[in-house]
């Protein structure tokens, strides 16, 4: 009884938080979205003088935009696939095997995120320079792989650890080989959480900017890198705004996909929740 009374009371703190969050997150998005579909918007008018798709036509007519979109997608797919191929077996090993230095290695994946990233990137760039990887596609792949390690190791490790060992034993008991158990029981059980990790690393790679810029520029230009140069070098706001809206598309698709495969429970489990 008491609980229902409490829950019916207006939660002012919650409303204030929601309002502030909405203001901080949604407002800039609305402004950028408006700019992307604006032909003319001069101070001090609150709404644009003229809406239109002029700058979409101009932006999409540029060859560098299209090549950067294809570069970004190719990079994101390559990095995610490589990361999955390397990290998932490693995560399984971390979750199930005990070997010397296991914990040290496990926590080493945090190191990439424990220090200021740009310093780390500059140091890596120095090494890549000697290896002639600067300005190459595979150089960018390597640097972005580093960024995905944390997600692609830690979340799948938690997912594999959450799989009931008795389920695997029951599968052995009815005649499944260890590999078949992994394929038919362990992977499907850990599947939704691993899908979440793959999704996160795909989206993360797609938006990754510093590494791509430092290692790839000017030969390899991803969409975010192109957007930065547009914002820095062009006096026209709309170019940046149009690219922002374009960049938003993959994460939107990813989110829709995420809603289908990932229920909140398994997602939380991935983070050890």
């Amino acid at each position: 009884m008491a609980a229902t009374l409490v829950s019916r009371k207006t939660d002012w703190t919650g409303i204030i938080f929601a309002a502030v969050l909405t203001l901080v997150i949604v407002f800039p998005l609305v402004v950028v979205g408006t700019w992307a579909f604006t032909n003319v918007w001069r101070y001090p008018s609150v709404i644009p003088q003229e809406f239109g798709l002029r700058f979409w036509n101009q932006t999409l007519a540029r060859a560098d935009v299209w090549s950067s979109i294809s570069t970004s997608l190719t990079l994101a797919f390559t990095v995610t696939a490589l990361s999955a191929a390397i990290c998932l077996p490693a995560a399984y090993a971390f979750a199930r095997l005990d070997f010397p230095g296991r914990n040290l290695l496990f926590f080493s994946f945090l190191a990439g995120h424990a220090f200021p990233k740009f310093g780390l990137l500059v140091a890596i760039a120095g090494i890549f320079l000697q290896l002639n990887l600067i300005g190459t596609f595979w150089g960018v792949v390597l640097i972005q792989l580093v960024g995905t390690l944390l997600f692609m190791i830690w979340i799948p490790v938690a997912a594999f650890q959450a799989v009931d060992r008795r389920m695997e034993e029951a599968a052995r008991d009815v005649g499944a080989s260890p590999f078949r158990v992994f394929w038919s029981i362990t992977l499907p059980q850990a599947g939704p959480t691993i899908a979440a990790a793959i999704l996160l690393s795909f989206v993360g790679t797609f938006y990754e900017t510093e590494g791509a810029w430092l290692i790839g520029a000017p030969q390899v230009r991803t969409l975010p890198v192109l957007m930065i140069s547009f914002i820095n070098n062009q006096p026209v706001i709309q170019y940046g705004a149009v690219l922002s809206v374009l960049l938003w598309v993959p994460s939107f698709i990813a989110l829709l996909f995420a809603r289908k495969v990932v229920n909140s429970g398994s997602f939380a489990r991935g983070f050890g929740g």
Binding site: E169, A170, A176, R180, G191
Partner: protein, 359 residues
């Protein structure tokens, strides 16, 4: 059809704990043997070794004469039912049962026929398309049993299968499982720490303690003629009284009774149903502490003169009140010394009641 032999099997874990110590057991064809013991007695480890999930440190296990000691679980003719059910939640009931048959490359129409047949057997006909997460605990346990039975294993292994179920369901399921087991005549090894389960289901009970066998016998023999004080105290309710025998008479706190063994300390074991109580105001051996009325009979907790507690079963509990003095006569006793039985009077006809047997 199938005989399981376990010979001198030991299991020492890497940390040095001896879970099972030179254990031997033969399970006859179609027999249901219960491994009964407290936590840590090694019964589950033993069952997991038979299933192939643990490797014995030494010893030999055979099924129908074939050595299975080092055979991986997927190649053993054993079927295990786990305490946690361990159903695959990403498959429906039908797929859970069909998985093992598919691995054996059984044709689809035969899979369908066999799965439906076994589901009928466990009382879940028509449940094939249900998700296992939609089932109740008892239904899940039936699916787990069906998943093992559908493969027609030579040996069925049950690892505390009813531990997660409530009392009523447990009693019903154990009758069902016993029925199915006897109908299929399947050789079964059953692990439990519940003595009621062991007494009601088993053809023979193996009482285990610290990885070793304390006693292997029929349930009624284990109950009436326990070979060690441990078994005496573990199965059913038992009064275990430490005392001294001198000149063939056992004495304890003013109470004495003839026990014709050599002089020395003994542990006297008396079932509550073998204690006759009489209300007495003078020369009492002790006094009533508490009276519990179970409807069919009563149980009197009494205190001897030195404070030793005993239980006595009485037909008319209303005759006794707390604080009242009583004299006692023992109709049947067993005496233990150095962990072995050294004397036993005639066996008492048990008027036991489930309430006394339940843990």
């Amino acid at each position: 059809m199938s005989v399981l032999k376990i010979k001198d099997v030991s299991k020492i874990f890497p940390n040095g704990t001896t879970a099972v110590d030179s254990f031997s057991l033969d399970v006859a064809d179609g027999e249901l043997v219960c491994l009964l013991g407290p936590s840590g007695s090694g019964k589950s480890t033993l069952l997991r070794m038979v299933g192939g999930f643990e490797t014995p440190t030494s010893g030999l296990m055979t099924i129908d004469g074939e050595d299975i000691t080092r055979v991986p679980p997927e190649k053993r003719p054993t079927g295990m039912v786990f305490q946690s059910h361990a159903l695959w939640t990403h498959m429906n009931v039908f797929k859970n049962l069909a998985f093992g048959l598919k691995l054996r490359k059984v044709p689809a129409d035969e899979i369908k026929r066999r799965v439906e047949g076994v589901l009928e057997l466990v009382g879940l006909g028509g449940y094939g398309t249900r998700s296992v997460t939609q089932l109740s605990g008892g239904q899940q346990q039936r699916v787990a049993l069906a998943r093992s039975l559908v493969l027609e294993p030579k040996i069925l292994l049950l690892d505390e299968p009813f531990a997660s179920l409530d009392q009523h369901l447990r009693e019903r399921l154990r009758e069902e499982v016993r029925d199915i087991q006897q109908r299929l005549k399947i050789t079964t090894l059953f692990v439990t720490h519940g003595q009621d389960e062991a007494l009601s289901m088993a053809d023979r009970i193996v009482v285990m303690r610290d990885g070793k066998t304390e006693q292997i016998d029929r349930p009624d023999v284990v109950y009436r003629e326990p070979q060690t004080p441990f078994v005496a105290g573990f199965i059913g309710t038992m009064n275990l009284i430490e005392g001294v025998v001198a000149n063939g008479v056992f004495s304890k706190a003013g109470y004495s009774t003839p026990v014709p063994v050599s002089d020395g300390p003994v542990t006297l074991a008396i079932r509550p149903e073998a204690v006759d109580l009489t209300a007495a105001s003078q020369n009492a051996h002790g006094k009533v502490h508490r009276v519990t009325d179970y409807g069919t009979h009563g149980l009197v907790d009494l205190e001897l003169l030195d404070g030793t507690r005993m239980k006595a079963m009485v037909p008319h509990p209303d005759l006794f009140k707390p604080g009242q003095g009583v004299t006692l006569a023992l109709r049947a006793v067993a005496a233990y010394r150095d962990g072995a039985v050294i004397y036993r009077t005639g066996v008492v006809t048990p008027v036991s009641h489930p309430a006394l047997v339940d843990a």
